[in-house]
């Protein structure tokens, strides 16, 4: 088997989808001015509940629904401890990572009475869709055959996010909350509520992303199966400066890295070196293009002008 043939396109698109969804989700938290590192646990819990929902209802769609619900739950908990009760976003974020890591193992034990991973023929994965006509085009056909609806939704979400953020009042309020919360407040925007909504969107999308991981190719759940993708999404959204179109390209880049690492593993490359790729990529980004990571103060009102107090 050659190293790269066109079929890798299918893999790239498939593995990009969860990262893309999570990063688009992260977009909203970032724009709203909330540092959010609960993407990983939201995805993980979403992956678990995707399997849970699908197993118990026999429907992969309901699996997706429960995955989204799980993501929303994580977001709610995060919002509760930070927005409402004043916790530090990073500390609470780390804690929630720890909690959900443990919770998935705990639930795995008490619900499915197993550990490590759970597989069963009763878990209905997402159906693989072939788009008629488009799946005959040479080369590009790999983009349109065998993908799940979540994958297509992931790419669609880029456009939805763009419209939502830049063309609706809601999006404008989110941007205001992130850049100048005081400005938003004086115009009557409930900053707290807008940030809550933004966090919920993030959580929901990450939950869905998690379901793609557990139901989108293999139908199973294993401990820590999200493998840090949530954190890659954090880095990606910062790097893309929270612009939806840029997010698309950065996510594709990471998807490419992951697909390549899969391919290289099949070719007996040392799997460890290859698995490192996406994470090193993030650090590499930081080394090469460091000025992307200049932080703005997100809590202070800050005058727009340079002069003056």
């Amino acid at each position: 088997m050659s190293l790269i043939d066109a079929s890798i396109l299918a893999v790239i698109i498939r593995v990009t989808a969860p990262i893309l969804l999570a990063t688009i989700g992260a977009l909203f938290s970032e724009k709203a001015g909330v540092p959010n590192i609960t993407l990983e646990p939201a995805m993980l819990l979403g992956a678990f509940f995707g399997v849970f929902g699908s197993y118990y209802t026999g429907s992969s769609v309901l699996g997706a629904v429960s995955a989204v619900a799980a993501g929303l739950l994580v977001a709610l908990i995060f919002a509760l401890f930070t927005l409402k009760w004043g916790g530090d976003e990073i500390v609470v974020g780390v804690a929630i990572n720890v909690i959900m890591g443990g919770l998935t193992i705990f639930l795995l034990k008490i619900i499915f009475h197993t550990s490590g991973s759970f597989m069963s023929p009763e878990i209905i994965g997402f159906p693989q869709l072939d788009i008629p006509l488009l799946d005959r085009i040479p080369v590009l056909k790999y983009l349109f055959a065998g993908q799940t609806w979540v994958v297509y939704f992931a790419f669609l979400s880029v456009w939805i996010a763009h419209v939502l953020l830049y063309k609706t009042p809601f999006g404008m309020k989110i941007i205001a909350c992130g850049e100048n919360p005081l400005a938003a407040a004086t115009v009557g925007v409930n900053v707290y509520r807008i940030r809550l909504y933004a966090l919920l969107i993030t959580g929901g999308l990450c939950g869905l992303a998690g379901s793609q991981i557990s139901l989108g190719f293999l139908s199973m759940f294993s401990e820590n199966m999200t493998a840090g993708r949530g954190f890659i999404a954090v880095a990606a959204v910062i790097f893309a400066r929270a612009v939806p179109v840029r997010v698309l390209f950065i996510s594709l880049l990471f998807g490419l890295a992951e697909a390549l690492s899969n391919q290289l593993q099949l070719l007996k490359f040392p799997s460890e070196l290859v698995l490192m790729l996406p994470y090193l990529l993030v650090v590499l980004f930081l080394v090469i293009q460091p000025d992307r990571f200049r932080w703005k103060k997100w809590k202070s009102a800050g005058a727009v002008s340079e002069s003056g107090a």
């Binding site: 419209v163 063309k167 609706t168 009042p169 404008m172 309020k173 941007i175 205001a176 850049e179 100048n180 005081l182 400005a183 938003a184 407040a185 004086t186 115009v187 009557g188 009102a301 800050g302 005058a303 727009v304 002008s305 340079e306 002069s307 003056g308 107090a309």
Partner: protein
């Protein structure tokens, strides 16, 4: 006809201070109403109450004769009250049109209709004489135009009563003139404008009616044309402005701090400091007067080593200082610095009072042994200084947050003076500090001068500059536009220089 605004018996207390005490305020329609007072007089609080950002403890408000409960800005907006704040409340990356229409966006099919918003901006621009390009992101506009966006924002929401909080603090003279033209035109359309300011000049030029506040109460109310600056100044301060503090005869020594042609550009490439040249001698207090925002902050930071200068020469105690000379090194060379913002730079509020005192001194040998610090000794020294400087506290292990503003400032002065610098930069040393502590701090600065040290005083309060300085320099737009002494010039003349108006008898270095 009913008054536009009537506030009766308004009282508002904050922990430790009464911001408004039984205030009765009244503004008529079609009037530009000036509200003046020193820092802390209560004028901003009063207007915040009017705009619903604060709730009065007691009192009532009537808008156009009908009672109003202004529980939030939203309520105030509903009653056609608008406010333009001192610090702009704009969203930098959004366009002018989006910022203006943000509270009530123009929609089409649920999505923002930018074209309609732009049309509104054009139309309003014509109507009020406030032209703006609706499609430009706000962050690209100069300050004067940003303020225009703020005004249009308020007008868009239907403001008939417009409160402007220190609007000229960040404007150039041309922009200020333009602003007053705009305000006059709005007045002629029947609107009421309440202008909060502490600038006498503008007050006299732009307003029809003046209300003077002091220490939370209204102390004067008159028509502008019937009054004079002296009368108002007297009401603001409460006594005939007593200027001089007793100083010894000047005995100036050698130059300790010298700037030659210092130039500084900010991150965007804007020239903030333009060829600053002056020096401070031993035994001398040099005061730099100016409106906030003319480069004072950057000047201080450049001297202290917190920002770089791109041109010119800086000489400290005879030795040349380069950009790579760190703040610590400059302190070793004899520089002291009382930061202008005690909350962000001057102190670490969550650290203990003791730890705050030790900053800077921990490099020296007073309580240090090699790699270690002897806290017991530091405590002894700290207590000595704290008593000496009358900082009121029961326990120096408490966080600095527990100190009142005046005491915190005294602590900072104590710290800097303990380090015995040769030249001390005192930036806004009595900002937000009560009278008693202020006088104490002034006396300490004079003591320093009398002992032969050099003091560079930078303050927005001209009276402070006048009463302390041996020499007065005026900074405007990043350059020194005038030099004089308190004996040779009056506050009025200096005020003109501060406003960028050059008098015939201007003297530069």
């Amino acid at each position: 006809m009913a008054a536009a605004v009537e506030m009766r018996n308004i009282t508002k207390k904050f922990p430790g201070v009464t911001a408004n005490q039984n205030v009765n305020f009244r503004a008529e329609w079609g009037q530009i109403h000036g509200l003046i007072g020193e820092n802390g007089a209560g004028k901003t609080t009063l207007m915040k109450i009017l705009y619903g950002m604060e709730q009065p403890d007691e009192g009532e408000i009537f808008i156009d004769g009908t009672p109003a409960v202004l529980s939030s800005p939203k309520e105030a907006i509903k009653r056609n009250i608008g406010m333009v704040h001192q610090h702009f409340t704009l969203v930098p990356s959004l366009t002018v049109a989006e910022n203006i229409t943000m509270a009530k966006p123009t929609l089409r099919n649920g999505l923002i209709d930018l074209k309609k918003a732009a049309e509104i901006v054009f139309e309003m621009g014509e109507r009020f004489g406030l032209k703006l390009d609706p499609y430009v992101p706000v962050k690209q506009l100069p300050v004067g135009l940003q303020q225009r966006v703020e005004i249009l924002k308020a007008l868009y929401l239907g403001a008939d009563i417009l409160i402007m909080d220190e609007p000229t603090a960040v404007l150039t003279p041309q922009e200020i003139t333009q602003l007053f033209v705009t305000l006059k035109s709005l007045k002629e359309q029947g609107k009421t404008i309440i202008l909060i300011t502490h600038k006498l000049k503008e007050l006299m030029n732009a307003t029809d009616v003046i209300t003077v506040m002091r220490s939370g109460q209204i102390v004067g109310h008159m028509e502008t044309r019937n009054s004079s600056e002296e009368e108002i100044a007297r009401m603001m301060v409460g006594k005939d402005v007593q200027l001089r503090i007793d100083k010894k005869m000047p005995a100036f020594g050698k130059e300790v701090l010298t700037l030659k042609g210092i130039t500084h550009y900010d991150k965007r490439g804007v020239k903030i400091l333009d060829g600053i040249t002056f020096s401070v001698r031993e035994g001398e207090i040099v005061g730099i007067a100016g409106v906030q925002g003319n480069g004072q902050t950057e000047l201080i930071e450049v001297i202290a080593g917190l920002k770089e200068f791109q041109g010119g020469e800086l000489i400290l105690n005879g030795r040349s200082v380069s950009n790579s000379t760190s703040p610590m090194q400059r302190r070793h060379m004899g520089l002291g610095h009382v930061a202008e913002d005690r909350q962000t730079m001057g102190a670490a509020l969550d650290a203990s009072i003791l730890e705050n005192f030790m900053m800077g001194g921990h490099h020296g040998q007073w309580y240090r042994r090699g790699m270690f610090l002897r806290y017991k000794r530091a405590e002894e020294i700290a207590w000595e200084q704290i008593r000496h400087f009358d900082v009121r506290t029961s326990d120096i292990r408490l966080p600095a947050r527990s100190l009142s503003g005046g005491n915190l400032q005294k602590l900072i002065i104590a710290r800097e003076m303990f380090l015995n610098p040769l030249v001390l930069i005192a930036a806004q040393p009595t900002r937000g500090v009560d009278i008693g502590a202020s006088q104490f701090i002034h006396r300490k600065l004079i003591e320093m001068r009398d002992e032969g040290k050099a003091v560079l005083l930078i303050s927005n309060e001209l009276s402070e500059i006048m009463s302390l300085s041996d020499r007065v320099l005026v900074i405007y737009n990043g350059s020194i536009v005038g030099e004089t002494t308190p004996e040779k010039s009056t506050e009025e003349e200096i005020g003109l220089w501060m406003a960028g108006i050059r008098s015939a008898s201007r003297r530069t270095l």
